[in-house]
């Protein structure tokens, strides 16, 4: 193919997920030629998620709530602590969460949502190349003058652009190689990953609505902590989709490896708990999936820009790993900010690292890094206080069930005994310290 046959690109985005597609959307809307390379047969083919946080999406596409393939809004949330057979739950919700904009929290099937989002980026003018793998970036110059100048597609051609936005997700081989090649610094601490394992369980729509007490247009997100997760740094979840449930857990890989449990044993143990079993009775497994989540938080985030390069989304480690567990909206915001930075840099004709440092500044000045900074100690707290997710909830659940035990003894005796059982085996000083630390989780 002759050289005048090429299509000149202003930017190349590696990865067609929320971060990459947002970057492409913003660039395309500004009239720039942008190409998105996605290794899946379609965008979303490799992606696993459950909740879509759409506050950034709402800014970019106010109509998304009506147009995107969203399964159900999260009208109510429930946090459940599971003991051996006991449970304590806290449930909350608001009428407003069942009405537009639904608190910008929806249960989605990512494979379907991402495909829709890709279509939006494409309609805005982005060039989507699906089913192609980027093995490495192209570079020019060496040492100090080395910069990224494009990508090489496996079994195909090289494509050049002054800016490459890396949004290749949690398992980010391209970003890793670019970090190495360009000498980008890693974070202050090692990036930690959790493994998320999930089952899509099919149930009739009516059964889901009856079982979770939902109106047809409502949905629910349930988080589970405690015994089934056997001391792992992790938790389980059930989200209601239209005609299926997302059921799964996420646990720190290193804690899972230490436990000697297999992911399947954990998910089966979770499903076997009486409080969970009754919610999924009769459901048919439709899909089994696994994905990683970067959980290192703020301190694990390294350099996110280099000469000709910016890194966004999960590849950048932008996940708020706290009770909020937000990732999609951070990914979209970082994609948008990378694109805005790219637009300025292209206009100035300067895509050097110094120019692209504006991307980091944008992130730091925004809610993205503000949230991540606020929850920077979550990982430490959970790793340093393993009882938080295990012993204490067990104790609390036991206390409540003992407290409400009906018997022919006097209430004062029952209560005294309940408290005695509660304090037995509870390391009080450590518990006080752990609970004080736990304030950082919320």
């Amino acid at each position: 193919m002759s050289s005048d046959d090429t299509v000149p690109m202003d930017a190349i985005v590696v990865g067609g997920g929320p971060a990459g597609l947002t970057a492409a959307l913003v660039l395309a809307r500004a009239g720039r030629q942008v190409m998105v390379v996605e290794r899946g047969e379609y965008c979303g083919a490799k992606n696993v998620g459950g909740l879509l946080y759409g506050s950034v999406l709402a800014r970019l596409m106010p109509e998304y709530v009506r147009e995107a393939p969203l399964e159900r809004p999260v009208s109510r949330r429930r946090l459940t602590f599971l003991a051996d057979t006991e449970e304590i739950a806290l449930e909350f919700g608001a009428a407003a969460w069942s009405e537009p904009p639904f608190n910008h929290t929806h249960v989605v099937h990512r494979s379907q949502f991402d495909r829709w989002y890709a279509k939006q980026a494409e309609d805005a003018g982005a060039n989507l190349i699906e089913g192609m793998v980027v093995d490495a970036l192209l570079y020019e110059g060496d040492r100090a003058s080395k910069r990224a100048v494009g990508v090489r597609l496996r079994g195909d051609e090289e494509f050049r652009a002054p800016i490459v936005i890396l949004a290749d997700g949690a398992n980010c081989l391209v970003s890793e190689s670019a970090r190495l090649a360009l000498g980008l610094r890693p974070g202050r601490v090692r990036q930690e990953y959790a493994i998320g394992v999930k089952e899509i369980l099919g149930l009739p729509r009516g059964t889901i609505e009856d079982r979770f007490q939902l109106e047809p247009h409502q949905g629910m997100a349930l988080d589970f902590f405690g015994v089934p997760f056997r001391g792992l740094i992790g938790a389980g979840f059930i989200y209601t989709a239209r005609e299926s449930l997302h059921l799964g857990f996420a646990a720190r890989i290193e804690s899972l490896a230490r436990s000697g449990l297999t992911p399947n044993e954990v998910i089966e143990g979770f499903k076997a708990h009486p409080a969970v079993r009754r919610l999924i009775r009769g459901a048919e497994l439709l899909e089994y999936s696994a994905h990683m989540i970067p959980e290192g938080g703020y301190d694990a985030i390294g350099d996110l820009h280099g000469p000709g390069v910016m890194i966004a989304g999960d590849a950048a480690g932008l996940v708020n790993f706290s009770l909020y567990k937000e990732g999609t909206n951070l990914a979209m915001e970082s994609g948008a900010m990378a694109a805005e930075t790219a637009l300025e840099a292209l206009k100035a004709g300067d895509t050097s690292a110094a120019r692209l440092a504006a991307y980091r500044r944008r992130l730091e000045d925004s809610w993205v890094m503000s949230d991540l900074r606020r929850y920077r100690h979550v990982g430490e707290v959970l790793a340093g206080s393993p009882d938080l997710l295990d012993l204490y909830p067990r104790k609390a659940a036991k206390l409540l069930t003992d407290y409400f035990a009906v018997s022919c003894r006097s209430k004062s005796e029952v209560q005294r005994e309940a408290w005695r059982a509660f304090w037995r085996g509870l390391p009080k000083l450590r518990a006080a310290r752990d609970l004080w630390r736990a304030r950082r989780l919320v």
Partner: protein, 265 residues
């Protein structure tokens, strides 16, 4: 005479790994239950055409019956190097191969100057592998079926190679002719179809693909050309396999298992 090749490209149901029920109780396809794909044998046919084009120059036009369901096969063919593509407005799921053959034959005549037609053999979603025969008959052209490879083309003839029980045979036909490509190629087969090219995707994403209606092709009611009719579809009830685990150390359990197997329980 340069080759002018027409290749059939069908979008067919992808039935490789079904999950859940595909047909509802009334025998209707549940929307979204089945993905689709580029008919793999048609893809092999396209590859054969593109190789002729690479080797000796040829014009390759793809004819794709039906609206795009999930995979835009006409465009996929362009991304691999086809020179042109035409969509034929029809519902392949509602037509049999005789009617589809009539429509395609009319389209090939409308293209004009076509002297070689390539079509894949396997047809999982319609009456069964008859399209090539009906199409050749409608064109009034000679056909070679189950073609493995095209050995030679000249101004007035084509020689194709195919596997037979004893080995291989080469078959010659005068042009214009139709070849039905009948090999399920392995990934590593040197004849395996090429993947789409990123550059062609970039350039042809928005290329117009003309749509020819049956009326334009002189067959206003293609259903009337059907020689067979589908009366109904019914789902096969899913087979439930109960597995039991028997303790190999427990003789009574083993005996009970053998008994139940013998009784066919």
């Amino acid at each position: 005479m340069a080759l002018t090749i027409a290749v059939v490209a069908r979008e067919v149901w992808d039935t490789r790994d079904l999950s859940g029920t595909v047909l509802d109780e009334n025998g209707r396809l549940r929307p979204g239950a089945l993905p689709t794909r580029y008919e793999p044998e048609d893809l092999n046919a396209l590859e054969a055409a593109l190789r002729l084009k690479d080797a000796q120059g040829a014009t390759v036009t793809v004819l794709s019956p039906g609206e795009v369901r999930q995979v835009d096969v006409a465009r996929e063919a362009l991304y691999r190097g086809a020179d042109g593509a035409v969509r034929i407005a029809a519902d392949p799921d509602e037509l049999d191969d005789a009617a589809l053959g009539a429509l395609l034959a009319a389209a090939i005549r409308k293209l004009g100057s076509v002297n070689l037609v390539l079509v894949g053999t396997a047809v999982p979603d319609t009456a069964g592998s008859l399209l090539a025969r009906h199409l050749a008959q409608a064109l009034g052209w000679p056909a070679i079926l189950w073609v493995d490879a095209i050995e030679e083309t000249a101004a007035d003839r084509v020689i194709a190679r195919r596997a037979i029980e004893m080995g291989y045979e080469s078959v010659e036909a005068p042009l214009p002719a139709l070849l039905a490509i009948g090999v399920a190629l392995l990934e590593d087969d040197p004849r395996a179809p090429r993947p789409a090219k990123a550059m062609l995707k970039l350039k042809l994403k928005k290329a117009e693909v003309p749509v020819w209606t049956p009326a334009e092709l002189g067959i206003p009611d293609p259903a009337a050309r059907c020689v067979t009719r589908r009366r109904r579809r019914e789902p096969v009830p899913p087979r439930v396999i109960e597995t039991r685990t028997v303790d190999p150390e427990n003789e009574a359990e083993l005996r009970a298992m053998l008994d139940s197997v013998r009784k066919g329980a």
